[in-house]
Amino acid sequence: MNPDVGHGIVDCDIHLVVPSIEVLLPYLNDHWRAYIRETSFKGPIDTSYPRGAATSGYPQTDRPDGAIPGSDIAQTRAEVLDAWGTEYGILTCAYAVESVRNPFAAAALAAAVNDWQLREWLDREPRLRGSVVVPSQDPELAAREIDRVGDHPAFVQVYLPVRSEALYGTRRYYPIHEAALRHDLAIGIHFGGQPGNPPTAVGWPSHYVEEYVGMAHVFQSQLIGLVTEGVFDRFPALRVVLIEGGVSWLPSLMWRLDKEWKGLRREVPWVRRLPSAYIREHVRLTMQPLDAPPDPARLLEVIDHLGSEDLLMFATDFPHRHSDGRPDALLHGLPEPLKRKITRENARAFYALP
């Protein structure tokens, strides 16, 4: 129980971790089971969250029973849902099927993750909502997977890793956006991804800390792309949430994009309004991490620069640990109505939660 946020919050980023490919075997067909056994394929390797990195949060939450945090429903119930008095928790699963080059294997793994997620998590815990894992490298197969499970009421969004081969605003990804809209799902763009191309415009950085910091730049590129390439004009009902990508960079991006659009809009005439207006209408951000200024007084300044109180949604990002403080420490000193919006109302409206 938390004095600052009280009961009934919506937690927009709770990690669901596939502990090993073993748990998926019951959800794969005979061919893929044999294929995995015969090749000793271990499934995608998740390098977005190195096990020993403090931000990944494993050491702090490693349990005597050896359960990997985020892979055990009893643990998630106790440490997240009960501990925080959570009314709704949105599961996000970073299982990197986009790194598997065989698109059919990737699609089979994604389907298995979704069925496992449904059976072992969403069907068993009414407070949880899910994200559909898709082979995003193949938008047509991804759309097929969205169509397969998208009508299940517990799924509220499609999970897309922020690192991708191409920008999600480009035409190539229309099938994913269309499928999401068919099933009234949001698009959740999340930290990480293993698409094979470097995470910066200048190649591969040496250190994880650079990749971690740099993830925010990839979010920025994706956001610029979504607006500029015309996705929000083409799909006016599309809702996008940027998860675990930081927040405080957004004002600078809106200022720059608005300014340049004024002179270059002829190239993209489907962008009819200020780009920042599209962002405020269609895009939300989870606030773990926030990348707040060290001086708490400046935090209100940053929120003012966002130009809207509707954009931020609370998240614990369990089990990740982006700072020494608790996730709700960020809310200290915010006015009560804003706190309510961030911890409850914005997410309820965005995901249309009952």
């Binding site: 996705v231 004009d233 083409r234 002179g263 002829r266 005439p269 009819r272």
Partner: protein
């Protein structure tokens, strides 16, 4: 105050002439026989607006659709490319920042681009910026601009 700035022949259709009247630089444009005058200073950062390229209005029904209309009627600032309607001085985007300028004079804004009026294509919002325009008349084969003193 009225100033004779050119003879009609000097500014053929599609042409322009930049003149100095009443201490300010003014661009006079001939659009298919009709004359228009704008202050040669962009409301954004003061670029010499009237030296910018003339183009048409680009609108769209969605990604990939480019609809080009009103050729020659849209003046693009030579610096940052903001677009102004020669006939009205109206800018066609929505810059929120309005800097107070000592000479700022808002002229009457006539109809928005014809596409909008026809309802065929939804255009952007009209911005608060308007380039200063002046009434122009033709008297005895001379182009006359009326600039407040």
């Amino acid at each position: 105050m009225k100033h004779v700035v050119a003879s009609v022949d000097e500014i053929p259709p599609g042409g322009r002439k930049i003149v100095e009247v009443a201490g300010r630089s003014v661009g006079v444009f001939n659009l298919e026989g009709e004359f228009f005058a704008l202050r040669n200073s962009c409301p954004h950062q003061g670029g010499e607006l009237c030296r910018g390229p003339l183009s048409g209005w680009v609108s769209s029904r969605g990604p990939g659709d480019y609809d080009y209309s009103r050729p020659g009627e849209i003046l693009r600032c030579p610096w940052h490319g903001w677009e102004f309607d020669i006939k009205t001085g109206q800018s066609w985007f929505d810059p929120r920042r309005v800097r107070v300028r000592s000479y700022e004079v808002f002229v009457e804004v006539s109809a928005p681009p014809e596409d909008d009026a026809a309802g065929a294509v939804e255009g952007p919002e009209k911005g608060p910026y308007v380039a200063e325009t002046y009434p122009v008349s033709v008297e005895r084969r001379s182009v006359v601009v009326d600039v407040p003193s």
